[in-house]
Symmetry: D2
Subunit: 354 residues, 4 copies
């Protein structure tokens, strides 16, 4: 299968190349990055030097590609997606930007400004396979690959809000407090990401609102069936790859009445989560808070739900690699589904530990 990556000079593009560059069933047709046009890929990302590819300045062989990944800034991504879908009917587009994630145009425009191709919002499928796998198939043409924070937090909370295996057992009012490695902030240079200043330091950001908030709310609302209120605070922690979300929600009265001890309730909930994700190869339910390094470079998400009966709360800690399961790996997972391949093809590498 022929695959192109547009936006190879950023971390998400490079992660896609890392994951796809060695697959025997994939030919990397074009890797596009305007600012590095004509350079060997190893000049841009030395880890990719063994691929011996040259960066293209433009997408020139669009129609030959079976799949094109767009790892571009928002707006640019939507514009390119629209062009591909128009000009090359047999090509599938997996958009790594935020452009097609929010179904409600007004919400999108509140956070990102005017949408360059709003007519595609309906067609785009939100590519979170664990919740929307049935929509991700060979008929799908446009995937909106989820954000890292939304992937991490919604997979942690979805079982508790879903009616798939039983009834919801938390109230629709959640707090998501999340920690991200710095690679999530991209490759662009900033003073707060200068090594000397970021090492041995941590901070919150987005205190007055973060773009991933409406995306989290949209998915949880969809799972729950009516509005879920979300409060979300992201933090930067001094590591490159890794994301940890700690999510809080109040338990329903029914749930609280069911269990006598905290241990019993916690055990039941963990089993419930295991059942919920029984067919999801990348979700692992664990019995202690995961450490992000356990999943570094892998496509796994480790989730640890715990019941605190005295405060009547569910606390869920979930961990993933923001560039793999939180971006490129999830993109490849979507690609596999789009192409009718086993979902884990090329993705079953284990976390790089220690």
């Amino acid at each position: 299968m022929k695959v192109s990556i547009v936006g190879i000079t950023g971390y998400v593009g490079a992660e896609l190349a890392r994951l796809l560059g060695r697959r025997p069933d994939v030919e990397l047709l074009e890797v596009v990055g305007r600012s590095a046009a004509g350079q060997p890929i190893g000049k841009v990302f030395p880890n990719l030097a063994p691929l011996k590819l040259t960066v293209a300045g433009e997408l020139e062989r669009m129609t030959e590609a079976d799949v094109i990944f767009l790892a571009l800034p928002h707006h640019a991504s939507a514009e390119t997606a629209a062009e591909i879908l128009e000009k090359s009917p047999t090509t599938k587009v997996i958009d790594m930007s935020a452009d097609f994630r929010l179904k409600d145009r007004a919400t999108y425009e509140k956070w990102y400004g005017p949408h360059p191709a709003a007519y595609l919002l309906l067609e785009a499928v939100y590519g979170l396979p664990e919740l929307y796998r049935d929509q991700i198939n060979p008929q799908t043409r446009l995937i909106a690959n989820p954000g890292c924070y939304p992937t991490c937090s919604t997979l942690g909370l979805a079982p508790a809000l879903s009616s798939k295996l039983g009834k919801p057992f938390i109230e629709p009012d959640v707090i998501v407090d999340a920690l991200s490695g710095t690679s999530g902030a991209g490759r662009g240079l900033k003073q707060n990401l200068h090594f000397s200043e970021m090492t041995e330091s941590t901070a919150a950001y987005g205190l007055e609102g973060h773009r991933h908030l409406p995306e989290i709310a949209q998915t949880l609302t969809d799972v729950y069936g009516s509005p879920v209120d979300v409060i979300f605070t992201p933090h930067l922690v001094p590591l490159s790859r890794g994301m940890l979300a700690t999510s809080y929600a109040r338990l329903t009265d029914d749930f609280v009445a069911t269990y006598k001890t905290q241990a019993e309730a916690t055990q039941a909930v963990r089993q419930y989560y295991r059942d919920f994700y029984a067919n999801d190869p990348f979700v692992v339910i664990v019995d202690e808070s995961p450490y992000t390094k356990q999943v570094a470079g892998s496509n796994y998400i480790y989730i640890c739900p715990t019941i605190n009966l005295s405060s009547r709360r569910l606390v869920v800690v979930s961990a993933l690699d923001n560039l793999t399961k939180g971006a490129g790996g999830e993109g490849v997972q979507n690609m596999n589904l789009l192409m009718g391949l086993p979902e884990t093809t090329g993705l079953d590498m284990l976390g790089l530990y220690p």
Copy 2:
């Protein structure tokens, strides 16, 4: 003034020596550490080598000391405190452990087991100068030095719950989500603190309850005048010194009704915090989330309160160095007050940045 430190082989003891070892008005009478008895202090902590002190195995000159710091495990600390207070009437004790922090014996015993010297709970003063300065004076004999998480979070929330300058503007139900550098977990070796495993990693812990929770609740309840409900989740982040607490609380209706815009409300609250801490030399109210490194090695706490009107929440981010303002520095601040000295004596060093 003559000062002894018991427990010099741990990080808190070493921090006290760092802060006191160069003061012209302090003689380090004895630095005690059973496991290192007879060794030069630089053998235990090479940064302290220039002090040229020898570690004592026991507290031998108890009655000569004006102040004795106890940086011991709980229980051992209470036992030693009781002995000193009995045998040496003119010596003051600053206990860095948790033994005298909780006023309610039953609460203490729930978390720590039987109290070895419960009769001292009444006498002990909770040494958080910003809230209890009037009780920390030359008449005080026993100080319970606060925990790092409690110092960081209660100073962030106290103004909003206090009636000192107006009326409380948040509901008495708060969430504290906090990040700690690894030095807070002490010097004892553990697999999860092994460098190879902790670097580039982060996790939550204490999911089923942490000992600092009742301490936070006790102080906030005291400030508010009636019970404040607290949910608290600590996390380990890959840095040595530094603590960041992100605290959430729902705003009162009155507050929400008062302000038209979020910016206006935030500005008002920051000014309110500045007024509240106008006489506190170590509290700095800032306009963006602090980074922990900004206060590394200093006794400052940087606090950033923000209003989110749409979600009707106050979000406060506060940052300190867990070994300085969160432990040894606060201990010295208490010592200054006990001895009638200016509060900032020997403590006005600035954060070591970058």
Copy 3:
């Protein structure tokens, strides 16, 4: 093919499991670790949880294994190797310890004490494929997998000392100054590897001699054909995976006389290195000092030789992941050769960057 790993509780054993656990052509027959006998592997190393293996306490199915990796302490490794080779004639042993690396028994015993199975020294093949590939083949039964420092430094210096493509152009007197991530120091807990103390810190060690010194000297001497003098100083740097060796040697007069400019000489030497390693899929010659992260988790070694004509020196910087190309990856590379497989099977993953 059936493969067992003995010593699964250490980092090298875990790295082997990471690399082998997902290979369709490999069945992990037994993963052995006495201290974790009976536990699921994910309890020992959570990154390996998806393998769903149980740790065995002893090697029970020795004779079924095609290959057994020994990731044991020295002495224990030699004893186990001897036992396997005796009892199971069709099993190959790849020893990750130092027990069979030094050909000269006296040298071995100077550094490690009495050899438990010295009679195997002659049979053992030093498993550095780039230099000894012809000896690593289906007839070989016992591989001594090289140390990380030796792999990193000898591959950097070998071309300059070899007569394979021309004549040696450095004097046989080299200095190797090397930096290692902490994972090279193993999983055992030590005060200097405690996160709080190792983060933001660096030091030299082994100032009075390090066990990898004779191994480096042995290989370089073998390549050169007569004794090469080696000075070697290792350092610990605050990162988990990664090794960088900076090696210095004086250029021969002939070499110096050949080139007019430093740029010309450097370019020629880099081309010479490229030719030297033309058939080595894991060696990449680069034009700037590599950063260790460029090869993290990969089996590549990046080498940058530079000529400094004014000081008449060759300076070679080489970088690898000490657990992959410096241990487990090289072990798998050897396994591939032993089993007659393409050398890169299961090993062509790219560096995890950033």
Copy 4:
């Protein structure tokens, strides 16, 4: 005393403000930084917020200053120094740049281009107090503050080359292999200093020559009395503050003949170093390789000389904080001497550990 700092927006300027801002005997007259003119200092460096100073755009009160520190890029520094020395005869200048470090104009111009004020080279005193204290006194007007690598390495090698207490015991041909924290590379943003890329990574740089080389050679030559040959390779390691130099030199035949055992020789050399630096309050001779964190934020340099008799080498490891003893702290040490104050005034803080 009135002190101004020009170049407050860089790390060296900020370090000077950290060290001087709290001294009761120092008034920070002006802190100058064109790019931040008019801003509160806490906006530029939040750790300095408690100083409540405003950044000036130009040096306006030049003639009022007793001492002016120049933390400017080279060339700009020399120009400003010349202007101050001309216009304000009572002001002393401590230049933190490289402009007056190299006594030989041709050498300077080879590395830095045309010198803007070469006539001052003769007057400038090289401000390494441990070696040139007698020239740093109230009569001195212009100090060239040494580079961080030169301070770290020359103090490690000087005793072995000096005739002060005996005769030199190494040959005049040394190798300096040094590791620097990233703060030494300054505050300017660069891709290789982006946190995501620098964390968990290390590399060499300056392989074809580094500007600190001639400075090291100049001092060692001066100490030895005839030319000393120097090879120098700097490395970046993933920490902010800290520098470690490992220096190698061949022992003289006389020295080798004097000692029977390595232990005896090492002990003798360490005592010799202690005697050599007996009157230097910031030099500590230690018995194991120092870790850089032991001196973080302090003005100490820890030095560990070791003899390797079999390879006939002296290996010296020396560690300091590149921004303190390697820059700002040394600058303040020079200021103290220029003003006739005790050398340790305001500088005796201990390393911030852990």
